[in-house]
């Protein structure tokens, strides 16, 4: 499983179709992967595991999200005003 993930990350080209977000508007896809990346990282780091496989989420949200949004959310996390649970 872990090896599978590593190959997937290595061969990443762009975000694949995600059946949870079938609509043309992909805002929630972007948002979910942003949240998942930071949740994954937090979880694995806290249990002393290698957070490398979390990188998948980052690749996806970097493909999906406008950079402006990512910047805004990063700033919000830094200021403690991010409206979401990580």
């Amino acid at each position: 499983m872990d090896e599978d993930m590593k190959t997937k990350i290595k061969n990443y080209r762009t975000a694949p179709f995600d059946a949870r977000f079938p609509n043309q508007n992909q805002t929630r896809n972007c948002r979910q992967n942003y949240l998942d990346f930071y949740r994954c990282e937090k979880k694995l780091k806290s249990s002393g595991q290698d957070p490398y496989i979390c990188k998948w989420y980052k690749l996806v949200f970097t493909s999906m999200c406008p950079t402006e949004w990512v910047k805004r959310w990063d700033d919000q996390r830094e200021n403690g005003t991010f409206p979401g649970k990580i």
Binding site: R28, R31, P83, G84
Partner: protein, 261 residues
């Protein structure tokens, strides 16, 4: 003078529709002036014209109806249709605010933390004052029905008592809502939660004030012996309107206060 061979009311020219329109113009432009230039002059002028219009228009209609006998059965039928159409239009007015509320709350945006109430908003507890308000309005619906049955049964004393009680309950509701607004931990400018909450409940509150005014006019007319057991449409229209306001509150309570918290 030629003898009138039909039962319809041939109305005389009246200035009140025009003064009412002037009042509406002054009040809306006065409101904009208040928002932009912090000057309430025009708004209060408009409100004064509105009060004068209301007083004189109502007085004229009371004269036509009660003292000149123009409100025959067929005329009353027209008044009924008019009131039904008016309340229907009011239903759609509130439907717009419920649409906005559900649009914002059923699939909350990322900016709100994808949750409703939005992240950081502390909503009011629906089982405290709002539940009391629900009980107060439901009770006022009962007392207005009691007043109606008392009118139809020639019971003058109980009509006055029940109508007074209905008005007191209406004013108590307004007082509780005013306190709730004052204590609310969120504001109209906080975001979509505050906007939808205060616009929907605020317009409802305005309608409670209008309904209370309508009932107060009925109480004054009741005291002045204007209503008979057979002819009291002014009262019935006020009761219909009051029930409408009551039903809107039930939807507000269930949607915005309860489900929305």
């Amino acid at each position: 003078m030629a003898h009138q061979m039909h039962a319809f009311h041939m109305v005389n020219p009246s200035p009140w529709p025009l003064t009412g329109a002037v009042a509406a113009l002054l009040m809306t432009s006065g409101l904009a002036m208040w928002f932009h230039f912090a000057n309430t002059m025009i708004m209060y002028l408009g409100f004064t014209v509105l009060l004068l219009t209301m007083f004189q228009w109502w007085r004229d209609i009371v004269r036509e109806a009660t003292f000149q006998g123009h409100h025959t059965l067929i005329v009353q039928q027209g008044l009924r249709y008019g009131m039904i159409l008016f309340i229907t239009s009011e239903v759609f007015f509130f439907l717009g605010f419920f649409w906005a509320f559900y649009r914002a709350s059923l699939a909350p945006l990322c900016e709100l933390g994808e949750s409703w109430p939005p992240t950081g908003i502390l909503p009011l507890n629906p089982f405290e004052v709002p539940l009391l308000n629900t009980a107060v309005l439901l009770a006022s619906g009962v007392t207005v029905t009691w007043a109606h049955h008392s009118i139809m049964n020639h019971n003058r004393k109980e009509t006055t008592q029940a109508l007074t009680l209905t008005i007191i309950l209406g004013l108590y509701f307004t007082l509780l809502q005013a306190m709730e607004y004052y204590e609310a931990p969120f504001a109209i400018a906080d975001g979509v939660y505050g906007s939808t909450f205060f616009v929907a409940t605020g317009f409802h509150g305005l309608h409670v004030l209008i309904g209370s005014t309508f009932l107060i006019i009925c109480l004054l007319r009741q005291v002045m012996y204007h209503f008979t057991s057979e002819h009291h449409f002014g009262f019935e229209a006020a009761a219909w309107y009051w029930h409408f306001v009551d039903v809107v509150w039930l939807f507000l309570y269930v949607s915005i206060y309860w489900w929305g918290s």
